[in-house]
Amino acid sequence: MYITNSAAGQPPVQTEPQQDRTAAERRARQERLRPDASRRRYGSVRDLIASPQNPTPLVRLSRVLPSGAEAHLKLEWFNPFGSIKDRTALYLLEGMRRRGELGGRELVEATSGNTGIALAALAALEGKKLTVTIPSGAPQEKLTLLRMLGAEVMATSDDLCPVDNPSDGAIALARAVAESPAHRGRYAMPNQYANPDNVRAHYETTGPEIWEQTEGRVRTFVAGFGTCGTITGVGRFLKERDPSIRVVAVEPQRGHHLPGLKNLQEAKAPAILDRSVLDDVVRVDDGPAYAMARRLFREEALIVGPSTGAIVEAIARLEPVEAGLVVGISPDGGHKYASFYAERLDAEEVAR
């Protein structure tokens, strides 16, 4: 997909001799812009998805942490579809294609939104249909983005299937769509919660990027419990480089309002979680997470999603000297949560 000046589809004004036409075509081909990452010129939006050759930025936190702390946030919202899940979606689909699971089938996936958005964008590039099951508490903005991308959205309450699947309604529903005999194998499910390609995405890209970007000086890595692809993949990569690097997971409270994160007491621990890479788990409740998200907006000018607030709040609670150079993940940006933030700001104004 190159930028071209050719008037494709226009009827020729006059017939050129064969030789000249070939020469003209050759000239036109030469005038096309070739993809060139050094000029940030790409053949497809897909090529913008982060990789060690094209890492997402690390930005130092300068105001919200206690003095003496050195922490950097990895801004995953610089991925083209807006979150860390772009990496996951790309790896999930490539794995399925390699195993021959995609041919002629529609996709169905359970997601709090970001994986759905990335999958829907990649599916759109391929003309594939995607159905997304999403917890009903997800922000309206994400639902709208999914619909704009052509995905079918099935919003479910977490207690949809109270008997067998407490608190994981969206996952149970996606599995039912994929496995129901009436659908006769029409759907393929990437299943980010159990698919090792989710871990591989972070083991092969996010982890090496952090190692390179910190020149091997990272001492503590902090990410949230969600599908657990990030914490397992990056944690494993860093532990292999240096087992003394501390890997810290952030867990929200029960009944939290932090999309993308999971409390593993109320939700099933994802099959891909490898607890052997974890050194600590820090519990961060909604209140401090949203308060820190607001501080990140106002003091660091970082327009982040609520889960970044939880992750930075966890970093703020670490002992600076022991923690050394800290890298935390900022899974997504704040635009998709405008309605969530508006609700909190309005409630605070009323309370004042």
């Binding site: 099935m154 479910t156 949809l160 008997v163 699947n165 149970a172 599995r175 039912a176 129901s180």
Partner: protein, 97 residues
């Protein structure tokens, strides 16, 4: 996801909902839980108060899911039967559902 909903009657009187007739029918045969309750919940959204929905399922999990759905949404579970691996439920939307 196409749903197989059949309108069996137009604007039916709520008083008749106690019979085996329903205002709408949902065929969930071959669908695994929780798809039948999800589809039923959406079908109920389209019913008027007093109207009834008949759902036919083949996943035994629905025997637990439909009473739970009725409780959660304040629906009247008029009947729940199972015969030869087929479950049939009739639910009535009483209030706002």
């Amino acid at each position: 996801m196409s749903e197989r909903i059949t309108q069996t009657r137009g604007a039916a009187a709520g008083a008749q909902a106690e019979t085996s007739v329903a205002d709408a029918e949902l065929d969930c045969r071959g669908l695994l839980c929780p798809l039948p309750v999800y589809q039923a919940s959406r079908a109920i959204d389209r019913l008027l108060p007093g109207q009834a929905l008949r759902v036919v399922c083949t996943d035994p999990g629905s025997l637990a899911d439909f009473p739970a759905l009725a409780r959660q949404r304040g629906l009247a579970l008029l009947s729940a039967e199972e015969r030869d691996g087929v479950q049939v439920f009739r639910l009535r939307k009483d209030g706002d559902g």
